[in-house]
Symmetry: C2
Subunit: 219 residues, 2 copies
Amino acid sequence: MSRESHAPTSVQTITRTLEVDIVLGRLYPRERLVEEQLANRFETSRHVVRQALLELEIAGLVVREANKGATVCEYSAEEVNQLYQMRGIVEWQAAMLIPLPIDPAYHARLETICDEHAAAISASDMIRVVAANKEFHQVAYRLCGNHFLADVIDEMAKKSNLVRFTSSTDLVRLKQARDEHYQILAALKQNDNVALAEISVKHLQPSRLMYLEKRGHLA
Amino acid sequence: MSRESHAPTSVQTITRTLEVDIVLGRLYPRERLVEEQLANRFETSRHVVRQALLELEIAGLVVREANKGATVCEYSAEEVNQLYQMRGIVEWQAAMLIPLPIDPAYHARLETICDEHAAAISASDMIRVVAANKEFHQVAYRLCGNHFLADVIDEMAKKSNLVRFTSSTDLVRLKQARDEHYQILAALKQNDNVALAEISVKHLQPSRLMYLEKRGHLA
DNA sequence: TCCCCGAATACTGTTGACAATATTGTTGGC
DNA sequence: GCCAACAATATTGTCAACAGTATTCGGGGA
């Protein structure tokens, strides 16, 4: 979010770790986040935990109530639909804006990340899967050349972590995502913005549908 | 940004006030924001000021460097173009998404705000102008029914305050904006999404162009 | 005169303790 | 046995003092 990532202070570490906890489903929606407990866990003072929680609140991952503390945010089915609609909008636009052809160095870079993602899936190493997935999309969407747009895409992706992993640990879904990444890469190589945009938007659907299905909110 | 606005604590007050200072041009880009000075000004402790500055950093209005403090953010010409491109994207989409016709109660509501905006311009009361302008756009864009989208529009509007008011205090521009608001209202009443989107995007251009002109960066 | 280096200054970053508030548990009246 | 008022606990919010770091200023040497 900030323009230049200043040296990774302890605050950053905590926010990152908590985000990972949320992604991996180690933290559930509505779960309380007590400052002192977190301070013990991260072996730091409550102050830095407080800051981390504030950042997470602004990022939309936790909700804080005055004098009551922070809890992991929970989205309603309606909000999930809105979130994915928003992601569809910004990711489509970003894909269309990427000036093609791109520097071939990015082909190699993205291919490496795709391979790492695939390897992590084979190894069932969820942490690596999540990291590689995140990096792939970040690198790809930065190509649109508009950092405000890329930042918002990132922001929305973070929010959707709240709904995603509760329903997407299964192997079938992961392999599908892996294949779609290679398709995105192919569209980039073929200099086809429209195909790129279509795959990107299509790539979003499964998580949303699985979530809504689980909650019985499919229209 | 947060889902529900919790009781306006002192931190909120400070961030709001500083935002207004930026909008009205009382704070310039690159101007330093010293914690202790602000603490004196707001008659509070450095601690709450710190939190406020953190929020403003995350909102992209100030930049903080470790051990060096916070300064009002400055955007390059390139970034200004990116910012307005982003605003164009999200405001266009929001306008297209508004389900028309809307409840006529909103017609009255928006008209009231338009009139207040016009009155404030006539009175040359910049604080009221800014407030009415902000409210008009907030109310209008909430109509799109997607609060993630509306939030991002808000966020981007805040950022553009950094470039806007340095160049748009002049009466001609203000009156043009006023007229465009009434045009937006008319498009809403006529249930014309496309016209609405076109006017909304057009409404963005003058500030950007004036800024770039001043800096001699017109392509 | 210019440049390097150390002291003084100004500011941010961190800590621990204390105050305010919400929640939970307990007692007494009916 | 049930409810209201009160006490105890848990948790967040605020504060003032201290530590750490960057910048500025002034002196000594070439």
